[in-house]
Symmetry: D2
Subunit: 308 residues, 4 copies
C-alpha cells in the first residue's frame, strides 16, 4: 500500500443513496468471463475481495461468516446428510463447508462459469482450501436449471449459492415456482433446501420478499436466517426450506453435539448458541414481510428491484 | 432533492480504510455548541441524521432500533422498575423509551450539553415525542460524573447513553472503575445498569473490549447485546451489568408478558423473540473478547483507539 | 468545522466516470424555488458555493474569475459601452461587473427566478456587492426570451449568463438561431454579445460545439475564451459574438488603458496581459471543433449531452 | 468495464478538503519498486493512468499536453538545440518529445528508478513510442544530483522531470541553490533549463513559490508557463530558466517556423499560438507570487507543504 495515502477505492453502491467505500491495496485479478466481470482486489480491512459485475460477493477474511451461515444450519438440521448438491458456489467455499461433515459421501457442485471456478482456484485458494481435490467432490460445469431438469439424482441437502437475480446476472430468472418444484423432486425424504435469499436491510427487503413468497408456494416449512456480513456492511438472509424438517425444533445442545461429532472444533461463526439466534428476525422485519405477503394489492409502488 | 442527481453526501469514515456514504437532501440545523459540533441533515434513506463531531449518532427512521435495544432489555429484565437515571441521552429518545413503562414513577436525565437538548427538542421532536414534558421526567444540565458524585438518589435502572470516549468528546475519560463504582452505589437492590458499549465489528472491537474489561472489575453479571444498526452500517453493542439480575434467566414468554402489561404493543424492534437472540454473540467475537481478557500481555499491538 | 474530521461533502459529478469532491463546513441556505433547487453551502477551500439543481454555479472565493471573464473582455472590446443587457445572472455578480465601467448608463438584468435573486441578495451579498441598489441597474423578473421578443430597446453589450441548457434547467431550449437573431436585433451598431458557452474539457466539448455552430449561423465574428475555473476543476468557455468588433484586433496596451480609464485598478483576474491569452485555444481543441463543424456526418456517435 | 456500474475508483486527494474521482476499468500493473509505489490503472476517461506513491503522474490520453508543455517551449526557444539532458522522466515521454527535433544529436536521460523505467517500457509503450531505442538516446540509471556532480558534459537544454519533492519521494531535497548552480555549470552558452514547477491552484501555490524563489537566486531570466492538465483537474506550472535566452522575445511566427522545420506537424497541444498564451499568468497569481517574494516576513503561516 502507498506509504503516503489511500488512493484506490472500491465503492460498493447500494441503490442511489447509499455506498460503502473500501480502501484497496492491490488488484489480484480482473477478467471478463463469458458470463460476468470478475474482479479480485486486495483490501486493507477484508483481505482479498471478490467482485462480480460490480457487486461484492465475499472477502477472504469474513467469508467464513457467509459460508458457515449458508451451509451449516441446514446441514446440522439434517440427522445424517450423505449427499449434497450445490447450485453455483464458484468460489469453492460452499463446497469446503459441505465437505466438512464426516457424514457426507458425495457433493455435486454445478456452476455455469468454468473460468470463474478456475480463477477462484488460482487466486482465492484459501476459499476452497483443497475442496475441489476431495474425492467426494464432483464439479459439473453447466447451467444449474438445465442440470436439474436432466438428472434423477437425489440429495439430502441442496444448497443454492447463486448471485442475486439482477437482469444481467447469470442467475436471472432462475428463482421460480417450477425451479423450486424441481428442487423438491431432487430432495430425499427429510431433505432440506437452503438458499441465500438476498439482503434484508432497513431500506430494502423487496427481493427477499419476492423470493420468500415464491418459495412459500412450494415448501410448507420455511425458516429465514439473518446474519450481518461485515464486508457487506449489512445483514444477509438465507432461507431454509423443507417438507418435514424444522431447524427450530432442534435444540442448542443437539446442534453442538452434531457439530462435535461430524466436524470437530473448526467452525468460527456458527455453533449451538448462534443456531437459534440467527433465525430471530427483528419485529419490524417480520411485520414488513407479513404485510407484503398478506396484502399483494397494498404493496408499495416500487421501482423494479431488477433495475439498480 | 435535486431532480437531477445527488450532490450532497455525508461520508461517515470508519478508520482510514472504510467509509459509508449517505446521500443528503437538506440540512436541518448546524451549530457548534460549547461541547461539540452538532449537525442535523436530512437523508434520502434514513430521514434526519444527527451527527456529533463528525460521528453519526442516530437517524430518525432507525433510531427505534438503537433506543429500544439500549433501554428495553434492561427495563424488562427488572421486575418492577420505578426509578430510572439516564446519563447523557440528549436526543430525548432514551427518555421516551424509559417513560414507556407504566411502572416508572421518575426518570432523571443528566446531560452536559444544554444546547444539544434544545436543538434536539426543536429539530428532532419525533425523537423525544413529548417525553420532556412528561411530569415524571426531570432534566438536569450538568456533568454526569459530577452529578453522580453529589447525589444520594438511588435507581432501579441506570442507562448510560454517552458518546464514545474519543479524546475530544465530552464523554472522554468517563468510563473508569471509580465511575462504575459510583454507579453501583446509586443502584437499588436488584437494579441494572446498561450502557452502549461501542461498535463490535470484524475489524475493530478494541474500545468495546476495554469497556467490558473495566466493567468486569466491578460487576459480577455482564451481558452484551449486539444489534445491527442500519444507519451505522454495522452492529452496535450494549452491555447490561448487575449484581443479581441476569437478563438471560428470563424467558421469552415472561418478556412478552411484561411488555404487554407495562407498555402494550408499540415497540417495533424488541420483543420476547429478540430478547435472547440479541445476547448471542458470534463464536469468533466471543473468542476474540476472551483472548483479550485472558492475555493482557498478548494483546495485538494496536494504534490507540483514541486516535482516529 | 468539526475538530475531528471532514464528514460533509459536495460531490460534483461530471458524467459517469469523473467527480470532484469538496469538503463542506456548513449549509448556508437550501430551497426549491419555482424553477430549480438552490443550495448554498460553505466549503473549506472556496467559501460559499452556489449549487443549482446539483450543478456547481460559482463560489465566493473564485467567482471573480468567472465573472470578470464573462463580462470584461466583451466590455473592454467595445469603444464606449453605455447600455448593457444581462440575460440571467441571478447572483448579481455579472451586474456588478457590468456596472464597474464609468461609461455605463444603464444595465437591464432579466432573470426568470425571483426567489433565486432574493436568495443571492440575502445569502451571497458579496457577489452583488450593492449592485442591485445602483440607480443605473434595472431588474426585470421574467423569461429572457419573452422579454427580448417584447422589447425594442437596444444595447451596446448583451451578456448571456444562463445555466447550461440541460433538459430540466430553466434555460433549456433557449439557445437557437431565432434566439440569436433576436439578440442581433437588440444590439446597437458595433455592439457585442457574449455568453458562457459551456465546458471545454478533454473528454467533452459537445455542448460547446453545438452552441458555437448555432451562433456561427448568425454572427460573422466569433471569439472563444477558455478560462480555468478553480472551483469547477476545469476550464470554462465564453464566446463573444459580433458583426463588426473583433476583440483580437485590440492591443494589450489599449485594453490596459481602457481598464484604467473606465474602472481603475480593482480587477483581480483580467487585464491586458490576459486579454489575448484567454482567446488562445490549445491546438487539439481547435482541431476538434473544426472537425465537428466541417464534418456533420462524421460526428462521433454520442449519447445526447442532454442526458447526464 | 462492468456492464452494470462503476465500482472501482482512483480518488486523487488534493489536501484535506478536495479530491478528484476517476472511474477505473482495470489494473494494468502494480508494484513497489526500491523507490516508490508504482500503480498503472486504466480509466474510463483518460486511458492508462500512472500513479506514483498515490499521486497521479500522467495519463495515456492527455500526457501529450503535459510533455509538450514541459519540453517544446524550451526546445523551440533555443536556436539550435543539439544536446539535451533529462533528469527523471521515467515514463519516456519527455525523451520522446526531446528527440522530435531533427537538430538533436544526443539526449541523456538520468533516472534513479530502473524498475520504473522498465515498467513504463512494458506497460506504457505509447508514452516512449520507441524513444529508448533511438540511437541518439542514452539512459543512465543513477541519482540525478550525483550524476550532475560527476559529469563535465554540457547541454543546450536541460529538462527537470522529477516528482514533487514530498518527504518520501525520491526527489525530496533536490531543489536547492547548489543544485541549480550545478545546472548552470552544465548549460552551454545560450542554454535553457526547464523544470515542472508544481501546481498553481487557487488554494495552493506554495511549493511553486518556494521553487521559483530558489531558482530566482541563480537565474536572471525566469518564465513560468501555466497549463491546464485535464487528468489533474488543475493547472500545472513549468518554469524556464536561462542566463540569456528569453522565450517571450521569440515571435509566434518564429515558433511556428521552427516547429515546421525541426518537427513537422505532429504536435497536438503546442504551437506558435499557444507559445505566448501559456506564459500569461492571471493577475491574481502574479500578485500572489510577487507578495510572496517581496515579503518573506508576511508569508501566511502555513502548514508545511511537505505534509499532505
Amino acid at each position: 500500500m502507498s506509504k503516503v495515502r489511500n488512493w484506490w477505492w472500491f465503492i460498493d453502491r447500494i441503490g442511489d443513496y447509499e455506498a460503502h467505500m473500501h480502501a484497496i491495496t492491490r488488484t489480484v485479478h480482473h477478467e471478463n468471463t463469458e458470463f460476468q466481470e470478475v474482479g479480485i482486489v486486495d483490501s486493507a480491512t477484508y483481505g482479498k475481495i471478490l467482485v462480480l459485475d460490480g457487486d461484492m460477493q465475499s472477502s477472504q477474511k469474513d467469508e467464513f461468516i457467509y459460508h458457515e451461515s449458508l451451509v451449516q444450519p441446514a446441514m446440522m438440521s439434517h440427522p445424517n446428510p450423505e449427499k449434497v448438491l450445490i447450485l453455483g458456489g464458484g468460489e469453492g467455499a460452499t463446497l469446503r463447508e459441505a465437505l466438512r461433515s464426516k457424514t457426507v459421501k458425495k457433493v455435486v457442485m454445478v456452476d455455469i462459469d468454468k473460468r470463474l471456478v478456475e480463477i477462484c482456484k488460482e487466486f482465492l485458494p484459501e476459499y476452497s482450501c483443497g475442496a475441489f481435490e476431495d474425492p467426494r467432490a464432483e464439479l459439473v460445469i453447466t447451467d444449474a436449471l438445465h442440470w436439474l431438469e436432466n438428472s434423477n439424482e437425489k440429495f439430502d441437502v441442496i444448497i443454492g449459492d447463486l448471485t442475486d437475480p439482477w437482469p444481467q446476472a447469470p442467475s436471472h430468472g432462475i428463482y421460480s415456482v417450477p425451479f423450486f418444484k424441481l428442487i423438491t423432486d431432487r430432495l430425499n425424504e427429510g431433505g432440506l433446501f437452503v438458499t441465500q435469499s438476498s439482503r434484508i436491510t432497513f431500506a430494502d427487503m423487496h427481493l427477499h420478499n419476492i423470493l420468500f413468497e415464491t418459495m412459500s408456494k412450494v415448501f410448507p416449512i420455511l425458516r429465514t436466517e439473518l446474519v450481518y456480513i461485515p464486508g457487506y456492511d449489512m445483514p444477509w438472509s438465507y432461507t431454509i426450506a423443507s417438507y418435514t424438517t424444522d431447524p427450530l425444533k432442534i435444540s442448542k445442545e443437539e446442534i453442538d453435539s452434531r457439530i462435535a461429532e461430524r466436524i470437530g472444533d473448526c467452525l468460527k461463526f456458527y455453533d449451538g448458541e448462534m443456531h437459534h439466534s440467527i433465525f430471530a428476525l427483528p419485529k419490524y422485519i417480520r411485520e414488513k414481510r407479513k404485510q407484503f405477503l398478506e396484502s399483494p394489492d397494498k404493496r408499495e409502488e416500487k421501482e423494479s428491484v431488477f433495475i439498480i
